[in-house]
Amino acid sequence: MNAAVESRKLRVATTSLAGCFGCHMSFLDIDERLFELLEHVEFDRSPLTDIKHCGPCDIGLIEGGICNAENVHVLREFRHNCKVLIALGACSVNGGLPAQRNHLDLGQCLQEVYLTGPGIVGRQIPNDPELPLPLDKVHPIHEIVRVDYFIPGCPPSGEAIWKFLSDLLAGRTPRLGHPLLHFD
């Protein structure tokens, strides 16, 4: 790494699409190493900064798969702006838990959840124009855009995320060995 590159902090953006924010919580589990990380990076769009749109970045971390139209737009914004795009966690890698609805009919799902299921008040399927339309299937992000790296796990541990990012920042090929590589 030459001096010119070292002097500039890398810009990192993160987002959670069809995920549960568990991967972001796990990211925070690197604890005091966040200070060390902040010596090398600064955050662009992220739930941590509340910046709403992503500018040009070096690294983009995507938690969650793609379950609605807004997810597609956000993912494309990240791919357009990030030099390196990383799928963070099971849902972005293979669809994860939200994708377990894929063998069900979306219309029937909405009907059961909002109209016919037990204990429902105000029986109405939400149709506010502000709400993004759900996709008929949930997809992992590599089915929509090109993805450079994948960190599996539900969630990946703080240790795994730290190992991966510190490898990447040091210019090494990121590698997760036993026991950091896990799918659950």
């Binding site: 799928a87 890698v93 293979n94 894929n102 089915e143 994948f150 997760l176 036993h178």
Partner: protein, 242 residues
């Protein structure tokens, strides 16, 4: 009689007449990735994970008899790339949602994916629609995870003498079926005492009311990667696979 050897990744490995490359390697504590192979059953060479290069040709190590002086390539980037691709195809063909699977942590498919550093399924997911069969009082069948290794088919047919399982269909529509008019496991003479109940390398055949008994971090492949458990794999019996 002089000892016979194969050269496994350049290392002389002795074998006895009739041994396959897989058997010779396992006896020498050398790991060759595999899914459909089990030391207690006749090899059938269908999963292709154990593909090695013997004298320059791709062969299944579990079915190929060892020959004196045979040069075998096993742990190479080329072969491991191909094996990883096969794993990825197995993962996208079924519904392998590890976080909700009782077999997680002791699943051979998952352990091999770790061993071969499979970080992504790469191919588009099929997300097939396969119903589970919870009809049997003691055993649950989750067809979403079937990799068509036929170990349960072989165990039930060749050892239990019951013929409970079979594969039906061809090509991409090939799937595991239960030999009953209703298609339900409860309508067969299948029991927990059968070999077939304990041989599944993935999470299809599961004993009921025993899920998640071992905490995360202490499960079979949490403790040690599969590549370092050759000795156990070589002497494993179906009873310990519960």
């Amino acid at each position: 009689m002089s000892t016979q050897h194969i050269l496994l990744d350049g290392l002389p490995v002795s074998f006895t007449d009739g041994q396959t490359i897989m058997q010779a390697a396992m006896a020498a504590d050398i790991f060759i990735p595999h899914l459909c192979h089990h030391p207690e059953f006749k090899p059938q060479g269908s999963c292709k994970l154990c593909t090695v290069k013997a004298n320059g040709r791709y062969v299944s190590a579990c079915t190929m008899p060892a020959r004196d002086g045979m040069e075998v390539e096993n742990n190479s980037p080329d072969l491991n790339d191909k094996r990883r691709t096969m794993l990825q195809m197995l993962f996208v063909e079924g519904n392998h949602f590890c976080p909700s699977c009782e077999k997680s942590g002791r699943c051979m498919l998952q352990a091999l994916a770790y061993e071969l550093e499979m970080l992504t399924p790469h191919f588009p997911q099929f997300y097939p629609d396969r119903a589970v069969d919870a009809s049997h009082p003691e055993v649950l069948l989750d067809f979403n995870r079937c990799i068509l290794c036929e170990l349960c088919v072989r165990a039930s047919r060749d050892v239990d003498g019951k013929n409970v399982f079979a594969l039906s269909g061809r090509g991409i529509s090939k799937h595991l079926i239960v030999n009953a008019e209703s298609g339900r496991l409860a309508d067969t003479d299948f029991s927990l005492a059968d070999k077939a109940a304990h041989v599944c390398p993935v999470g299809v055949i599961l004993r009921k009311r025993r899920g998640f008994a071992v905490p995360i971090g202490s499960r079979r492949y949490d403790v040690q990667p599969i590549g370092m458990q050759v000795e156990r794999l070589a002497r494993r019996t179906t009873t310990e696979e519960v």
